[in-house]
Structure formats: structure tokens, C-alpha cells
Amino acid sequence: MLDLYHWEPNANSAKVMIGLAEKGLEFRSQYVDLLQFEQYLPGFLALNPFGQVPVLVHNGEVITESSLILEYLAEAFPAQRLAPTDPKGWYDAQAWGKYVDYNLGPSVSSIGWHQVMAPVMKNRDQNKLREAVNRIPIWERKAAWMTATGESYPEEQLANSRRKIELAVKRIEETLRRSSWLLGADYSIVDIGAFALSCTLPRLLPDVVNAKSAPKMMDWLARINARPAVRKILAMRGKAGYQDVYAPGPEHSRWG
């Protein structure tokens, strides 16, 4: 039995939702509304004390961290592995997972929040919002939400996020010049992870990701977008009331 606690099919939630769908694994969808702070309710914190989605519960075992969930699924369901078995291929899959988490995760979240969610949140009752943020029981999450719902992010953080996205786009584009998928000839969990974090970039940063600046990446996004499993997951979008959503999720590295 698989239960997946997730938010909208975007970013880290989408990674695992698409991963499960591509493998043909049925799961019970447990929607956690991050903008209603459901990730900080006691029931959810009992599953993940860090207050983040996605969380997979597989036969009672709680599995967290989106990239590690994809690696777990590759090993727990080897018939639909979607990952290389040779040592170097597996290393590359893990190294890409880390690269995506480190560079795209926090950066897309910062810019997406700033451009798309911050204005939406300004329409909410600010007193209620402040109360909700003040009740967040995890120190660094509360600090993150205070910044996000207050002044939003400083110029320097946004510029740094943009720089990291540009580097990642360049790396994806260069890789796709050599092979059709990020790990070579086969579609894999690396494509799924990178897609989940970059599929909104043509709308979010159209000057960085467009048919001229990143033709291979645009084609790769379209190919993944057209896959039946991906269509099925993206059709689950919209419960939060917006098409593209972002959460103040993953942190930027504090040191090096």
C-alpha cells in the first residue's frame, strides 16, 4: 500500500507523483495544502517533523526527501526501475539528483514565490496570515515564511537564484545536445526530477528558457509533457486555485 502526501503537482511533490505514475504504481493521494499551513498540523508533523512534502508511506514505512524517494522506488520496485543499474550510471543519477536539489530547488522556489505567490498572498487577511506564520513550530521554517510573507526576498538572493538557474539550464541544454535524455539513451528518474523543477521556467523566466536560448531543453520539456503519465499527474493541478504555484520550500545552502 502506497500513500503519498503531496501538494500541487509541481516541484518536489511533482517529482514523486510523476515517478509513481511512470512506474504504474497506484497510490492514495493525500493532499496537504501548504498555503493553509496543513504541513504544520500535528498529524502531518508526526510523519515528517520537518514539515515538508512530499512524504511517501509504503507499508507503514515513512520515506521522505523527494530525490531519495525516487531512488527508493527504483530499488523497491526494480521491475520498473527507471534508473541505471551499472555503478557509474547510478552514481550519475544520484549526482544529478543532488545537483537539481541544490541548484534548481531553492532557486525556482525563491523566484517563483517572489513573482507569483507573494502578490497573491498580499490579498489575504494579513493579520490571520501573520498569526498562522507565528504558530509554525519549526524555527527555520517560521523564519523562511516570515521573510516570504513579509518583504519577500532580497535582491541579492533573487539575483543569485537567477544565476543558479542559468547555470542549470546551460548544463541541461549541453547534456541534451549529446543525448536525448539526461542520462543518455533512456528516460529516467533524472529526467523526472529535473522536469518537475524546471517545467514552469518557460513561463517564469521566459528570457532564460525559450526556443532560441534553450532549444534542446524546450524540446525535452515538450516530450516529457506529452507522456501519458505526466499528463495524468498534471491534470491534478488546480486545487490550490492557481495554475503555477510555489512554496517557500527548500533552503539555499548557507555555506559553500
Binding site: 526527501e65 531519495l68 531512488e71 527508493y72 549526482a95 543532488k98 524555527w139 544565476r163
Partner: protein, 254 residues
């Protein structure tokens, strides 16, 4: 042939050293002196363009991510298994590795650079240092070095790092007191990856890591220090950092 470019047998360099020693794989050690900026020299950048340590070079395969090197070693060579068979235990091995890499490690490292790396390199010629910084390929590393060399750590930054280290210690104590090793009943790469960052805690953070407050961590450290391959690894050290490991071993009376 497997060549390993590494600095001291701790933090990121320690991970592949200990994995190779535990697996019983012969390797050529290429000591790369981080305090002499060897990792930014043109010869090294030809091998690893990011200018970070460690790097594994094995029959033309180049690996630059320390936490994943062990999985490659375990899957490639014969020797005792360093990963559990059970997928949940494997996930747990990786979860703790990631927790230490992203949450605990950077904060502990910042404190270490403030008290150790910064003061050591500041004695060098300022012009030489300026040029050394310019040669660093990664922006993140350039900023870290500038902060350390010009002592630009802020009080808030260091306080937040101390808070995270203390919190991380409590999280790890809760995890490790439930089972003998990081992943579960057996020793794995997770123990190596965590140990490389936690091996000196009883002497660096005696007020937070001790018999009363963290009996689980102390017992786990004893299990790790009792392993011949781990002790063997510390012999590759050339600075007082490796000496610290001996101090801890004595303190734990291993």
C-alpha cells in the same frame, strides 16, 4: 588503478578514504593540500573543473561527489558490503547522509573555518591570497574563502550555525539511540558519511556531546572508533586534525 585526490581524512575527503579502506580496495593517495590551494591549480582543474576535493579517478571514470563515491566503490569492487540489501535501510542510510550534508555539515564547517581554516591561511601574503581567491572556479567557494580570509563571519551567521549544530546533535541522538548503526542493524556508508563530520564532536562540543546528554552518539562513536579501517584512515592525515581523532579515541577509551 584507482587514484584518490583528497585532503585530510575528515569531512568530504574522509568519506571515500574510509569507504575504500572498509571495502579493502587498494588506491593511490594523492594528498591535495587545501590550505595551499592545491585544488585550484591548473593541473587539478583539468581533473575536476569545480576545484573541489575529493576526486576519484578510476580507469577513466571521474567522480566528484563525495557522498555518492561510496556507492560506486561498493558496487564496483569485491569486499564486505557497505550498503544494506533492504530498500528502507538503504533509504535511511541516504537520508542521514543528506541531513548531514545539507543541514548539519555546512554549519559545523562554517564554525571550523572560523576557528581553524581562517586563522591558518590569514598568515600568508595578502597579495598571494588575493590571487588565490581569484582562481577559485565556484562562486560559492570563492565567497566562503573570502569570508574566512578577511574574517567576515557575522555574529548572526555564527550563532545560527551553532544553533543548527546543537539541534542537529539532538536529532541525531534521537535517531541513533534507536538502532546500532545509521541505517539499521548493520554498518554502512551512512555511518562513514556521518562519522566524517561527527568524529570529533566530544572534543569540539563537549557541552553538547557527552555521556549524560548523548549516550547514543557516544556508544555509536565507540563502535566506529573500534573499526581498524577507520583508524587506518586517520593515518593519511598531515595536520593536527587527525591528531584530534586520537584525542577522541583516548577520551572514549577505545
Amino acid at each position: 588503478m584507482l587514484e584518490l585526490y583528497h585532503w585530510e581524512p575528515n569531512a568530504n575527503s574522509g568519506k571515500p578514504i574510509m569507504a575504500l579502506k572498509e571495502k579493502g580496495v587498494e588506491f593511490v593517495s594523492r594528498y591535495t593540500d587545501m590550505l595551499n590551494f592545491d585544488q585550484h591549480k591548473p593541473e587539478y582543474l583539468k581533473i575536476n573543473a569545480a576545484g573541489t576535493i575529493p576526486t576519484v579517478v578510476h580507469d577513466g571514470v571521474v567522480l566528484t561527489e563525495s557522498s555518492q563515491m561510496g556507492e560506486y566503490v561498493d558496487a564496483t569492487f569485491a569486499g564486505p558490503p557497505l550498503r544494506p540489501d533492504n530498500p528502507v535501510e538503504r533509504w535511511r542510510m541516504r537520508w542521514w547522509t543528506k541531513f548531514f550534508d545539507t543541514f548539519f555539515g555546512p554549519s559545523l564547517s562554517m564554525i571550523g573555518w572560523n576557528i581553524f581554516v581562517g586563522p591558518m591561511v590569514r598568515q600568508k601574503d595578502p597579495e598571494e591570497l588575493r590571487q588565490a581567491i581569484e582562481r577559485i572556479p565556484l562562486k560559492e567557494r570563492r565567497e566562503a574563502w573570502s569570508t574566512a580570509i578577511y574574517n567576515r563571519f557575522t555574529v548572526e551567521q555564527l550563532a545560527e550555525s551553532r544553533r543548527r549544530v546543537e539541534y542537529g546533535i539532538r536529532v541525531f541522538e534521537d535517531g541513533i539511540k534507536a538502532r546500532p548503526y545509521v541505517a539499521g542493524p548493520t554498518f554502512s556508508l551512512g555511518d562513514i558519511n556521518v562519522f566524517c563530520m561527527a568524529y570529533a564532536l566530544p572534543v569540539m562540543q563537549p557541552e553538547n556531546v557527552n555521556e549524560e546528554k548523548t549516550p547514543g552518539i557516544m556508544a555509536w562513536l565507540r563502535r566506529l572508533y573500534a573499526r581498524p579501517a577507520i583508524l587506518e584512515s586517520f593515518k593519511l592525515g598531515r595536520t593536527p586534525m587527525a591528531q584530534r581523532a586520537i584525542e577522541v579515541a583516548n577520551k572514549l577509551a577505545v
